[in-house]
Amino acid sequence: MTTSGTGAAPPTREQVRQAMTARTPRNYITWITLAFMITSSVASLRAAPTMAVYGLAAVFLYVVPALVFLLPTSLVSAELASGWSGGVYRWVAEGLSKPLGFLAVWCQFAMTIFYYPSLLGYVASTFAYVINPALASNGVYVAIVIVVIYWSGVWVSSHGTKTVAGLSSAGLIIGTLIPAAILVVLGIVFLAQGNTSAAPMDSSHLLPQWTGIASLVLIVNNFLSYAGMEMNSVHVNTLRNPGKEFPRAMFLAIGLVLVIFILPAVAISWVIPADQLSLTAGVMQAFDAFFANFGVSWLTPILGLMLIAASIGGMLTWLAGPSKGLLTVAREEGYMPPFLQRLNKNGVQQNILVAQGVFTTLIALLYAFIPDVSSAYWILSVITTQVYLIMYLLLFVAALRLRRTAPDHPRGYRAPALGLLCVVGFGASVAAMIIGFVPPAQFSSGSVGTYVLIVGGGLGIIGLLVPWLFLKLRKPSWRQPEASNDVPTGEEG
């Protein structure tokens, strides 16, 4: 068992080799736990009030993206994960090339760096809503919340996949499934009491109002609701029988994600008219209004706590996933310096997490203390979703090629009509990327061309230039092929 920390002394070659060949006792997780991790990464109640505004049309706004994006990404990932371990890097490396495999996992990883501050900013505002709303605009408070929770998450992640799996599953149950059930039950009670649904529930309201390009933006942007379904496939070898169990986990996750997104949104729309929902400042106020209708406002702080638990659980899965994929490629091809290839005693890529944490902390501090940064943060969310879409494009092309180049490679699951799934998924990803270049209302200054330049420039720098520099600057000595088959899976104790 090897150990390495974040000490200043550079590691010797032997230390690095030992660290990379460290094996830990295999601690399996169940496929249900993995399904919960996948669900926790993607779905929560955060979007429910937003989508409740659309009433019955919320079903359409989630089902159409599910058909063109959720099913392709999930089924393709299920097939690939049932045949190859290592997640998206391995799939793209096998199907296309190793540098493109690195690009794919980099895009997945880089996106998360910018995701954490906004996720934890939401946690900070949820907590502030309950204890003192004025805190939400206090930079010191927001910075403390982001930094403390992020680094606590890193500490928890350093204990290994199984610890993360347990906590994120608990976060999903406590923070999403239980409150979702409460919302739906209250909604049913509301109707059972003889009240008329606030949103019309007849077939003529199944589709959202068509208002031209804005409607297209609305529908296509919702494709990204399901971004992240493939991420936890990097943990596939923590299952006892990955070939059979991963597809099961994915199918359960698909069902849970759809239920979590659709049912609570519709339940809220039964109780609160759309006009009222659009008058609430933030997710918590919308839930507050929902509970106030039933005279159970005391549930608001409890729900706030639950939402926080769900967000932190989701964050843990994102900390543990893409960085593990990056570790795989770093060890196999030496795309990263030895320092970043180090493992801790639990077989966790601790130094990648710490390096990521330094950037995240810096961004979080800018986010918290510079109003212009927090006001403009939305543009980073656009850029990073664009970067993430590069990974999806590569994923679909790789899946298609692997069916042709390795048709006999053993797979526990073969997705039906894979070619069609890949074409539809690829098309949906391209559409989402194109819509990403349409300026939203927040982009007040400059022309459309300027916006395209900013988003395109960010996409080029984060999604292409940085990984190219890693490839360009790598040294042959960083490569440790003897460690390439050893992917740490679990933890001690």
Binding site: A43, T196, H205, S374, W378, G493
Partner: protein, 152 residues
């Protein structure tokens, strides 16, 4: 007890403590609201909504949610920017796919009325913010669905 269970136990205890703080603080915050002022402002806001044809919360709900100080609406204009980004102008994602989507025009009209009623000193900042938005047929929609004739 393994180290993993120590972590689980610590997380559960932390969550319970946090929950207790949140329940107590939330109750305290609501108690500190001036009930009479809250009801007066709720009635004013309700009437203002009705005037522009927006289906409003009933007065009791408005008083409970916005209190006498407007709650999250009146913390400061920057919080409103966040609020707009958080609700009404983002897509349906709850994970890393979150990004700006179309803006519901009713939201802007309603927000303005709330600020006018609860924190008029911030109205100018809010108007400046709205003026800075790029509002056209690619970024806004007139409202998702018509409300039913009989709202509860």
């Amino acid at each position: 007890m393994t180290r993993r269970w120590v972590t689980y136990t610590a997380a559960a205890v932390l969550l319970l403590v946090l929950g207790a703080i949140m329940v107590v603080q939330f109750a305290g915050y609501q108690d500190r609201q001036d009930q009479r002022e809250a009801e007066q402002k709720a009635a004013t806001l309700h009437a203002a909504f009705a005037e522009i044809g927006i289906t409003a919360f009933d007065e009791e709900t408005i008083a409970r949610v916005l209190g006498s100080d407007g709650g999250g609406f009146c913390t400061d204009p920057a919080a409103l920017v966040d609020a707009t980004a958080n609700l009404g102008s983002t897509n349906g994602a709850a994970g890393p796919g979150i990004r700006p989507s179309v803006l519901d025009e009713r939201r802007l009209a309603g927000d303005r009325l709330v600020i006018e009623t609860y924190c008029p000193d911030q109205l100018e900042a809010f108007d400046d913010y709205v003026d800075s938005l790029r509002l056209d047929d690619t970024t806004t929609q007139p409202g998702s669905q018509p409300a039913p004739e009989e709202a509860p």
